[in-house]
Symmetry: C2
Subunit: 487 residues, 2 copies
C-alpha cells in the first residue's frame, strides 16, 4: 500500500471513528484497500500510448473517408444549430468571462477563448439532435472531439492530416471505451456521449499538443474525473450541453497534462477508477482489441432526417416516389403505409400543432416529404407543420402496423386522383448502416442546415474545406470558414 493509499484509508476510517459514528459495513468497504487480484491490463496507459503515437499512415483510406464524412456532417450540424436558444444562452452567460478571441463559433459572429468556444460549438452541434451516431453505443462521436479540435486548431497552424488523425483517434477512443461499458453504463442513467466524450477530446487535443505517452496518460486520467451527462436532461438545454462540456473538459485535461499536472495512471481501470464508479460492467478487451487496426469510426452513421429514426423509412419512400413521379400534392388521393410497430408507438401523433410535435408524427413527416421533398429541420418547423397544403395531405395518410415490417423498412402505396397506384418498399432506410447516406445526400443535408445561417457561397466553401480536410495546410481554416463574418 502506497503512502498515498494510506493517507486516504486513514482519513476515511479514522475520521468516522473520531466523529463518534459507528463504522458500518458499507463504510468499512469504502475505506478498505483494493482487493489483491491479478493486475489488470493497463488500459489507461495503452489508450494513451495509442493516442500519443498512432501513425497517420496506419489509417486505411475507407476510415479516412468516413472521418471526413463525420467532420462534414458535424460541421453542418454545428452551423445548423448555431442560432438555437441553448447556444445563444451559453454565449450570453460566458461572454463576460471569456479569454482572448482565439476561436470563432460556427454560424455565429462572436469569438471566444478556445475552451469556451469548444463548449458553445459543442452545444450548437447537438441541439437539434441531428449529429452522427455510433449505433452500437448511441454515442454521438464527433461532438466532443470535433468541438474541441476545431476550437483548439484555430490560430495554431495545424496540418489537416494531423487534425484528422486526432479526430479519428479521439472518436476511436471514446467509442471503444463506450463499447466496454455499454449498455450497463447507459442504463445507469449516464448520457454516454458526455461521459466518454471527454476521453476522446483529451486524447485528440493531447495529440495536437504532442503529449508524450506519460503526459497523455495523465491527460486521459484527468479526463476520467470529469464525465458530463445524465439522461434525465433529455428535453432540456442541458442535453446539448453534454457534448460541449465533454469537449471543454477534455481540452482542459490535455492542457493541464501538458504543464505536468498529474492524475492516476490507472484512472480508467484502477480500483475506484472511472470504470468501477460509472458502470456495473466493463470489458476492457473492447477498448484494447484491435486498437489501431479496426476502427469504430468506420461504423459512424448520419441522420438524413430531423426526426425520430423510426419514421426515416417512410420519409425515404415518400421522397423517392415524389422524385420518380414528379408528384404534386393535389394529385394525391391517399397514402397507405405498412409500418413497424414502433412507428405508431413513438410517432403516432395525428394532429401535431407545432414543429416539435411534428417530429412525433409520421403523418406529418410523410406529408411534408411529399410536398417539399425534404426531411430536414425546415420540414419540422412550426411553419411547415401549420402549412395548409401539408395539413390537407397529412389527413390523407393512413398507417397500419405490420409485424413483418422491420424497423428500417416501410411499405408505401400512394393512390392518385386518377386512380393510379404507386408502390415503394424500403428494404433499408437511407442513413441506416446497411444503406448509408451518400456523399451527395450529406451535402444536401449540410446545405439545408446552413441555408438560413450562412451565405450560400460561404456554405459551399465550408463544405469544400471539410471534404479536403486531410490535405488542408491549416486546419484552423475549418472554424474560420464556418464562423459568420459580421458585416
Amino acid at each position: 500500500m502506497s503512502a498515498i493509499d494510506r493517507r486516504h484509508l486513514l482519513k476515511t476510517s479514522a475520521g468516522a471513528l473520531l466523529a463518534g459514528i459507528a463504522t458500518h459495513d458499507a463504510q468499512a468497504q469504502a475505506a478498505a484497500p483494493a482487493p489483491k487480484e491479478a493486475p489488470p491490463e493497463p488500459v489507461t496507459r495503452l489508450v494513451a500510448r495509442y493516442a500519443a503515437t498512432a501513425p497517420i499512415e496506419q489509417i486505411p483510406p475507407a476510415v479516412r473517408k468516413e472521418a471526413t464524412r463525420t467532420l462534414l456532417n458535424w460541421v453542418g450540424c454545428a452551423v445548423g444549430g448555431a442560432r438555437q436558444e441553448a447556444p445563444s444562452r451559453a454565449v450570453a452567460a460566458l461572454a463576460p468571462f471569456s479569454g482572448p478571441p482565439q476561436a470563432g463559433l460556427f454560424g455565429r459572429g462572436e469569438r471566444f477563448d478556445a475552451l469556451n468556444a469548444a463548449l458553445i460549438n459543442g452545444i450548437s452541434s447537438h441541439v437539434l439532435d441531428y449529429d452522427d451516431t455510433h449505433l452500437k453505443t448511441i454515442i454521438h462521436p464527433a461532438g466532443p472531439v470535433a468541438a474541441a479540435l476545431t476550437a483548439f486548431a484555430e490560430g495554431r497552424n495545424i496540418a489537416g492530416a494531423d487534425f484528422m488523425n486526432a479526430l479519428t483517434l479521439g472518436c476511436e477512443i471514446e467509442c471503444r471505451i463506450g463499447n466496454s461499458v455499454f449498455p450497463e453504463h447507459y442504463a445507469m442513467g449516464w448520457h454516454i456521449t458526455g461521459t466518454t466524450g471527454m476521453f476522446g477530446a483529451a486524447a485528440a487535443v493531447g495529440r495536437l499538443l504532442k503529449l508524450d505517452e506519460e503526459r497523455m496518460t495523465h491527460a486521459i486520467g484527468i479526463a476520467a474525473s470529469q464525465p458530463t451527462g445524465l439522461k434525465v436532461q433529455f428535453g432540456s438545454d442541458t442535453k446539448s450541453f453534454h457534448p460541449g462540456k465533454a469537449a471543454q473538459n477534455g481540452m482542459l485535461a490535455a492542457l493541464l497534462a501538458a504543464q505536468g499536472f498529474t492524475a492516476s495512471k490507472v484512472a480508467i481501470e484502477g480500483f475506484d477508477g472511472w470504470g468501477k464508479a460509472a458502470s456495473t460492467r466493463h470489458n476492457w478487451d473492447e477498448v484494447l482489441r484491435g486498437l489501431g487496426t479496426r476502427y469504430e469510426i468506420g461504423l459512424n452513421t448520419y441522420k438524413p432526417f430531423a426526426c425520430g429514426i423510426v419514421a426515416h423509412p417512410a420519409i425515404d419512400a415518400a421522397i423517392q416516389l415524389r422524385e420518380a413521379n414528379q408528384l404534386k400534392p393535389e394529385q394525391i388521393r391517399s397514402v397507405a403505409l405498412k409500418v413497424h410497430p414502433l412507428v405508431l408507438n413513438l410517432m403516432g401523433k395525428t394532429e401535431p400543432g407545432i414543429g416539435l410535435e411534428g417530429k412525433f408524427s409520421v403523418y406529418h413527416a410523410v406529408a411534408v416529404a411529399l410536398v417539399t421533398g425534404r426531411g430536414g429541420d425546415q420540414a419540422f418547423s412550426d411553419k411547415a407543420v401549420q402549412d395548409p397544403v401539408v395539413i390537407a395531405l397529412r389527413k390523407k395518410v393512413e398507417a397500419v402496423v405490420d409485424t413483418a415490417i422491420k424497423a428500417d423498412q416501410v411499405d408505401m402505396t400512394i393512390t392518385l386522383a386518377d386512380g393510379r397506384q404507386l408502390h415503394q418498399f424500403i428494404e433499408h432506410a437511407v442513413g441506416s448502416q446497411l444503406h448509408p447516406m451518400s456523399d451527395k445526400q450529406l451535402e444536401d443535408k449540410f446545405a439545408g442546415q446552413a441555408e438560413d445561417i450562412l451565405p450560400a457561397a460561404q456554405s459551399r466553401r465550408l463544405m469544400e474545406i471539410c471534404w479536403n480536410a486531410w490535405s488542408l495546410r491549416d486546419a484552423g481554416e475549418i472554424l474560420r470558414a464556418g464562423a459568420l463574418v459580421k458585416a
Copy 2:
C-alpha cells in the same frame, strides 16, 4: 410520456434495431420508460427553493459562527497551498485562456476571470489535504463553495451577510445530498467532495445572482450533470482538482441558468438522474428533513495537524506536555505511547526520509511536535524530517497498541533525563467533533499556513476580514486581501 421522452426512447431502441443489433435485455432496460410509481418528493425543486429563498435571519448564531470558522480555515488553506505544484501547473495551463482579470488568487499575484480563479483557488485549498471535513460524509464542504463564492464576489459589491448566507446554504446542500448517498456513492469510487460540491457551488452562486426558484432549479439541474472526482486520483494533482472543478462547474451552472438555460427539474431524484446514476442508494429524506432548521455546517471540523488524523491525539499530547513543562529535546530520555491499533497500521513508519513519509510516521509526528510545538505543514517538510534534533528524539519514541485506546485518544508518558515522568491522557484529540479547535488554534493554524506566503501584516488583516465576514460591506474584500500584491 412527453414528446421528449419519446424522442429518447425512439433513438435508443430503434437506433439499435436499425443497426441490425439484437436488442438484449439490458439495452431494452436502458430504453424503457420510467416505471410508474408514486411520484417522489421533488428534491431538486425543494433544494432550489431553499437555495433561492432561505432568509439570512433564519441561521442561528452558533451556525453563523461555525460558517465563519469554516471560511477562516478555508482561506488559510487556500493561502497555504498556493505555491504548490498543482495550482502552479494549473496557472500555467490556464493563463493563455483566461478572460478579464476579475479575481485574484489566494497567496499568488496572478489574476484570472472568475471561473478560472475559482478552479485554481479550489485546487490550492485542497492540495495539502488540510481543509475542513464534514465527518459524516468525508466531504470537504468549503472547497467547492468558498472557491466559487470568493472568486465570484470580487468586484461585485456583495454584502458580507449575503456572501456568508450563500456559503452556509451551499455547504448545507452539498453535505445533505452527500448524506443521502453516503457511503454507497463514496464506495462506488466517487470522490464525494467533487461529486456533490457542484451542487453547493451552483446554489451559492445562484443565490448571489438572485436566481428565482425556477432558475435555481435549472442551476441545480445543470450542476447535476457535472460531477467531478474519482478516488483513484488520490495521490495525484487531480485530487485537489476535484473541489476546484466542482466550484467552477457549479458557478457555470448558475451563470447559464441566469440566462435561461434549462435542465431537468428532477435532475437529482428523477429517473436517469444524478441519484440513480451515481449511487446504489439514496435517502432523499436526508436532504429534505429539517432543511433550514438543522445545519450540517454546524458539524464541520478542522484538522489541527497536517498529517493523518489518527496521529492527532499523540501530537496533541506532545504539544500539551511540551508547553506545560517548557520541555527541551535534550531533557527527554524516552517517550512511551499507548495507541489505537490504526496508528501503527497507518502511521508506523519508523525511518521516514522525506516530508511526505513523515506524514505517515507517528514517531516523527511526536518528535517534531516536542521539538517545535507544531504540527502544521512546516512540521512535515523535508527539512523537518531530516533535522538531526528531530531524528534523535524520534528514535526515543516507542508506541504500543492498546485496544482500550479509542481512535481519538492516546496515552503518553515521557521519561526525562532526570528520571521524572510526565503523563498525559488525551480523551478527545483537538480537532475532533467532541473537542473542536478553538478560535485561537484556528488562528495559529492560519498564521502558520500563511507565514511563508503572505507578509505578516497582510496575514493578520486577512484573518480579521474573515472573522468579520458577516458584517463586511463588500465580500470581495476577502479575495482581494488574500491575493499577493506584486511589488
